[in-house]
Structures are given as C-alpha cells and as structure tokens.
C-alpha cells in the first residue's frame, strides 16, 4: 500500500501545530516535533520493508498541463530515496533531542521546532519527489527553512545578513537549475526522473542542461563558486548547522546529481565538470580550514571539502561511492557539529585559540569528538575510511590520476585540520580561564549514539554496498595509501600543535597564510565584482527612471505650458492688433485658397 507520501505530512503537521499553538505548548512543542520525526522514521522503515517486497513509485495526480502534456506528481521509491529517508529521519530525531537541551532557555523555543519540522517535511518531500518541478518546490522550501533558521536569532544583524546571503546564493543556483529544467523539457519533453534513462536529444543541449542542473546542486551543496554562504550560515544555532548544513540539506545537491546520474553519465563532459568542481572545492575548502580559528567555521569548510569529495566521487563515475560517502559523512559530521555545539554551550566562545584541555572537564563530549575526528580523518576502523577509500578506488579504477591525487591531498589536509582542531580544543593546557562543565544528558545521549554510528557506519553500510557496488577488496594498495596519508596528517598536526615544533618559519609562509585566512578573498571579490556593480546598476536605473522616463513625461507637459504662455502673449488687448490679425488671416486665407 502506498504510504510513502504520508512521510512529509507528519513533520508538516508538527510545523502547523507548533506555529499556531506554540505559545501554549512551550516545551511540549519539542515533543510534538520529535513524535512527528519518529513517526516519519517508522514509516520510512515500513517503506524500506515495502520496497524490498517490491512496492515501487506511484503517481498522485495531474498538477499542471504544459504544452498539452499533463505533468502529474508522484512519489519515487528506490534505494537512494530510502537511504536518504532513513538518514534524514534518524539523524533528525537525535538532533531534535539534542536541541531540547541546546535551546531550552530560548524565548522562541516553539518557533525553532516549528521551523525544524518544516525543514524535515520539505527535505523528505524533496527526496520523495518524482519530477523536477515537485523537487524544485521542496528544494526552495528547504532553502526557505535554512534562511529562517540561519536568521533565527535575528536580533543579531550578522545572522540576518547571513540568512539573506544564503537564500540569494542558493537562489542563484536555483535559477540555473530552473533554466536547466526548461532546456531538458524542451530537449526531450519530460520532467520525470524515471524517463531520464531513456532520454534522447541533441548532445550539446543535454550537456548544457546537465551542467545547469548541476549549478542548482552547486548552490545547495555550497560547491566552489557558490560556497560563500555556508561559512556565514554558522550564525544559526549549532543544532541547525548539524542537521541542515552538515547532514541533510547540503547533501541534497549530491542527491540531485545522484538522482540524475543516468543523464550525467550519458554526457561525459557534464560528469567531468562535476568532478572538477568537486575537486576544486574539496581542495580549496580543506586549505582554508587548516588556518581558521572558529570551531564551527572549520567544520563548515570541512563540510564543503567533503561535499567536494562526494561530487568528485560521483564525477569519476562512482555513483555508489559518492552516495556511500554521503551516508557516512552525514553521521560523523552531525556528530562533530553536535560536539562543537556542546563545547560552545559549555564554554560560551567559538574561538578555538581560547580553548584547551577540555577533555578532562568534558569527558563524553571529548570522547565522541575524538571518535568523530578519527572517522572524518579516515582512520581505518572508522566509517570515514571506508567511504573515502571507495572514492579513491573508483577514481583510480576509472583512470582519473589528477583527481586521485587531489582526493589524497584533501584527505591528508582533512586529517591535519581535524587533528589540529581536537588538539587545540581538547588537549594541551587551557589557554584561558574558561570554567567548562559537561552538557546535560539530553545533549550527550545523541552524541553517544551518533558516535557509535560514526564508528561502525562503514560496516552497516554493507547492505547498501551490494546495491550496485563492485567488489570491496579490489586493491589493498589504495587502502594502505589512504591510511598512511591520514596518519601522516594526524602526526604532522600532533607535532605542530602539541609539541609546538616550528617546522617552517611562519614568516616565509605568511603570504599563503594571509591568503588562506582571508578565504582567498572570494567574498571580497564577489562583493567587488558582483554586488557593488549590481547595486550601482539598480541605483542608476532608478535615477534613469526618475530623471529620463519620468522627465520625458514632465517635459511634454512643460513644453505645452511654454507654448501656452507664448501664444497667450498674442492677445495684447489692443483692438488694432485684433483687427490687424483679422485682416492678415483673411489675406493669408485668400493666398492659400486662390493659389491652390
């Protein structure tokens, strides 16, 4: 029986309840959201169980009639959907539990949970949509929720500006996405994903469509040109960053590319761009993360870098490698953000230079933090290792040497900056007198559960693995290389930040250092190249409108007034002039008539 389309309804119901009865519910609103999330999770399991029993996607009815063809909306159910459903609902529940503790003294407590449930419902809707238009609707819904949540503490102007920046940047990506959909529709007349396999049409047009659709993914998954909004999005509550900007929403871009994989794989050029963009953003973000001093921004850049890695994985043709990394990354990145949140909740500042030696004071958070770091760095037993190895393997097997090196370098840098992070935060001596205390149970339980998954997701991933993934044990050489790379990263960080050995004099690297600290000046470049000229253009067009177009209208009026003043002078009041005009016009009339 088709119950898949009920999944998004539960969180939406929770949103409606929280919005309208939020005042009265007070703390209870959290339980409403959690209940909705749990229900959604159960239904996802049912759908998963139903799927293995063979119930696939189904349609719900016509939504629009375009060029005579009726576009009907439906639900698509396949392994990719189920994986995303499970991830979103599962991680969502724990993050909601965590948020109770994290947000318990916030005045707009119920509104927070309302927005989170709205986000959950649009994310689940996005995953279930079976055509581009429905996907676009939920896609923008997710963008809207990220805007509302980033600017949740709107008293802080920085948060409001970050929300605005996030929405506009994603919206730029979405415009490319919209144009891509239109080109695809006109090239092969369909919006539905199911027909993407059998798509035929002019080669160049479809490649352009694919690339444009990828720009949508770039906007949402903060890839290279449109990545500027994610670091600023850290203004929002950390639980939000954990759910939205680590696990689910940013993964939507990867999900989109995975969903349209048949389209991309049919056009190598499109796939190539995906890989290259992925590579660039992976490398760039990793380098910036190494020098950043804000705990959440480091994690934000690491998310961009990991997403770049996933895009690279997909780009080199590894559909399952990319999606597997997506699944594992969701777990340990959410864990890391929650740990960071608990640290900030305890210490009150986000600047890692001021922290130090917190492990002794915050046992559980510290431990889970280390597990997450190890998982992210790709140390063998943990989940990160398996999925990253998959990507390296596919990159190697599909003869992409440069991308392989880039992936390796990224994983090295990842290991380095994560190690730097935990060494500065947890180990060493406290650099400032911060009285840290362990977070309450509601925050630590999700940490523990997620750390378990971060550790063993690699193996749990097995059932997903046999879904179209080639043999795992292909070459141990790759595995060895990746382990060595991760360990050297950790070791280097150890030397630098625990032993304080100055390998390279800071002065010689200061130029590079400034470049990285200022995030390659991308924000400034955008501001200078895009935003300032656009504002000047708008100001210019307003002046043009007021002065020229309006001016013309007023000019016409004043010209007639001028002539009126002129002609008025002809009435001199002297009777002689009147008689003269009379006779003159008589004579002129005669000349005119007699000459004709």
């Amino acid at each position: 029986m088709n119950i898949a389309h009920y999944i998004p309804l539960f969180p939406f119901l929770a949103f409606v309840i929280n919005i309208f009865m939020g005042r009265r519910l007070k703390v209870a609103s959290a339980y409403v959201s959690i209940a909705a999330c749990v229900l959604a999770f159960i239904f996802s399991l049912l759908v998963f169980q139903g799927f293995s029993a063979g119930q696939g996607s189904y349609s719900l009815g016509t939504w629009l009639v375009i060029n005579g063809k009726s576009l009907n909306f439906g639900v698509i159910v396949d392994p990719l959907t189920i994986m995303m459903l499970l991830i979103v609902t599962f991680i969502g529940c724990f993050i909601l539990i965590y948020s109770i503790g994290y947000m318990h003294d916030d005045p707009r407590f119920s509104r927070y949970f309302a927005y989170i449930s709205l986000f959950m419902s649009s994310m689940l809707g996005l995953v279930l949509a079976d055509n581009f238009i429905l996907l676009l609707i939920f896609w923008e819904g997710v963008g809207l929720c990220s805007y509302l949540l980033i600017a949740f503490w709107y008293e802080r102007p920085a948060a409001a500006a970050a929300g605005l920046k996030a929405f506009i940047t994603t919206r730029i990506g979405d415009t490319g996405f919209l144009v891509g959909i239109l080109i695809l529709f006109f090239a092969c007349g369909t919006f539905h994903f199911t027909d993407l396999k059998s798509v035929t049409g002019p080669e160049s047009l479809l490649t352009l469509a694919a690339i444009l659709i990828f720009t949508g993914a770039m906007g949402k998954s903060a890839q290279f040109p449109l990545h500027v909004w994610l670091p600023d999005a850290m203004e929002g509550p950390t639980a939000v960053s954990a759910l939205i900007h680590a696990a689910t929403m940013v993964a939507a871009g990867v999900y989109l590319v995975a969903r349209c994989f048949p389209l991309f794989s049919a056009h190598p050029m499109a796939l190539q761009t995906v890989a290259v963009i992925g590579g660039i953003s992976a490398l760039m973000a990793a380098t910036i993360a190494t020098v950043n001093n804000d705990i959440k921004r480091v994690l934000a850049y690491s998310t961009i870098s990991q997403l770049g890695l996933m895009m690279l994985g997909l780009g080199v043709g590894g559909l399952s490698a990319g999606t597997f990394h997506l699944m594992t990354h969701a777990f340990f990145k959410a864990l890391l953000f929650l740990c960071a949140g608990s640290v900030i909740h305890a210490v009150g500042t986000q600047d890692i230079q001021k922290m130090g030696g917190l492990l002794s004071k915050m046992k559980i958070t510290g431990a889970t933090f280390c597990i997450g770091t190890l998982a992210l760095a790709g140390v063998p037993p943990f989940a990160g290792f398996w999925s990253k190895d998959e990507i390296l393997l596919t990159a190697w097997n599909n003869h992409h040497p440069i991308l392989f090196v880039v992936a390796l370098l990224t994983s090295f840098l990842t290991a380095f900056y994560m190690a730097r992070l935990i060494f500065l935060v947890l180990f060493g001596s406290a650099r400032s007198q911060l009285h840290a205390h362990e977070s309450p149970l509601t925050m630590t339980i999700p940490l523990m559960v997620l750390s378990v998954f971060a550790a063993f997701a690699g193996f749990i991933g097995a059932p997903i693995k046999e879904v179209g993934m080639e043999a795992h044990g292909g070459s141990f050489l790759i595995m060895a290389i990746s382990t060595v790379v991760s360990l050297t990263g950790l070791g280097l960080a150890y030397l630098l930040y625990i032993r304080r050995i100055v390998l390279i004099p800071v002065s010689s690297v200061s130029g590079l250092h400034n470049l990285l600290v200022n995030k390659y000046y991308i924000d400034e470049i955008y501001d200078y190249v895009l935003i300032k000229p656009c504002l000047r253009l708008c100001q210019g067009s307003f002046v043009f409108d007021a002065k020229i177009v309006d001016g013309l209208v007023n000019a016409m009026a004043s010209i007639t007034q001028f002539f009126s003043g002129l002609l008025r002078k002809t009435q001199t009041g002297l009777i002689q002039n009147y008689l003269f005009v009379q006779i003159l016009s008589l004579v002129l009339l005669l000349i005119w008539l007699l000459k004709i």
């Binding site: 008025r568 009435q571 001199t572 009041g573 002297l574 009777i575 002689q576 008689l579 003269f580 006779i583």
Partner: protein
C-alpha cells in the same frame, strides 16, 4: 454709359481705404468712420451690379437701402459705447482700453 468696371474699381478702392483706415487710426471714431466707408463700398457694388446686370426685381437697390438703415443703427450703438467709455476714462485712443489682455 459708364462701364461697370469703373464702379467695381471705385468700390474696391473705397473698401481698401476703409480697411486701411480701420487698421491705422488710433482714434476710435476714426475706426467707426472707416467701417462706414467699407459698408458704403458694398453699397456701390450692389447698386452698380443691380443696374448693369439688370435683375428685374431690383434686389440690389433694395438691399442697399437695408444696408444704409442698418449701418445707421450700428453706428448709433457704437457711439453709445464710445460715449460710455469716454465718460468713464476720458480715453478715445485705442491704447487707452487694454484692460483685458492675454
């Protein structure tokens, strides 16, 4: 018999003198006189045409009689107005009354 053309020239000449007088005279009564000249020019025309082109019912002459009577009435009214203005503003020249202009 004097050819008809002479009469037409005479009346045209009178007409032009009348027009010239009306335009140039600064004195209001001068203008009145010039206008009378124009009317008489028309009279000459009428009578001459009636005589030479010989329409049996003498419409032209009857017309000129009417014209003479009406011209008299018109000048009477004109003089009334001129006297009214003279009594009020002691100005007989046309540049005296340009109160209403533009």
């Amino acid at each position: 018999m004097i050819p008809l053309v002479y009469f037409i020239f005479l009346s045209a000449f009178l007409f032009c003198v009348g027009i010239y007088g009306a335009l140039t005279r600064r004195n209001v009564i001068g203008i009145l006189v010039s206008i009378e000249l124009i009317l008489n020019a028309a009279n000459i025309n009428l009578v001459a045409f009636n005589k030479y082109l010989g329409t049996p019912d003498g419409m032209g002459q009857v017309f000129s009689l009417f014209v003479i009577a009406i011209a008299a009435a018109a000048s009477v009214v004109g003089l009334i107005l001129i006297i009214a203005i003279y009594r009020d503003r002691k100005a007989l020249f046309t540049d005296g009354f340009t109160l209403m202009k533009e």
